[in-house]
Symmetry: C2
Subunit: 130 residues, 2 copies
């Protein structure tokens, strides 16, 4: 899978998995903006521990983001992984919120609170069984 | 979500996400055996970098395993995360292979090569929107 194909599959994926140091892993919704992955803390119900990702990124910005396709037919599996550096940001929120709202109609009913998590992609790799 | 419910959802999930130090994250198939998550290197097509998980576990055994349910209706989202200690094992392979073959009929056509990755679950947490 070439880098362009990998970036397209990443951008189209509805859910991703964000791994931070620990290791710690959470599902998250996101948008791709150039070579950045952007997401924002929202008002979906959470336990306080959900924000562990914020603490982890502040202590070590290395992250890995995975999206994948799984089905019973293993000849159709694929995944894409983006490794990069994350930061917790309080700026550019209107732009990021607009990207997320355009991708997810669900955000019409769920408030975007912030802060944002912005991942600068440094390496993107993918694999497809086909 | 209580621990029993979380463990059941973990056991029933078809695909999980394994985060090791780095952080590094891969999708994987697995079975739950008591309070252990077991998986085995198999003959599904791979790039060599897929085995980064083995190197990472040998250098630091802390891992986090996530399973989740995503759909457009965000009121039905859920996830379960198991944190624990992993080891790469060359013993007990017949037992682990039998568990994996019982869960995944696909393993009738894909060889289980080994080694196994065994995760002793130390903490399991879950969240459900419902």
């Amino acid at each position: 899978m070439d880098e362009t194909d990998a970036l397209l599959r990443l951008a189209r994926a509805q859910v991703g998995y964000l791994a931070t140091v620990g290791p710690h892993i959470v599902p998250f919704v996101f948008a791709v903006d150039g070579h950045r992955i952007v997401s924002m803390v929202d008002a979906k119900p959470k336990t306080t521990t959900h924000l562990q990702r914020i603490q982890n990124i502040r202590s070590n910005p290395s992250v890995s983001v995975l999206v994948d396709h799984y089905e019973e037919n293993w000849s159709r599996l694929w995944w894409v992984r983006a490794d990069g550096t994350a930061r917790v940001a309080d700026e550019d929120l209107d732009h990021i919120a607009a990207l997320l709202q355009a991708k997810y109609p669900q955000y019409a009913d769920v408030d975007l609170i912030g802060p944002a998590i912005i991942v600068d992609i440094e390496r993107i790799t993918g694999w497809s069984a086909e």
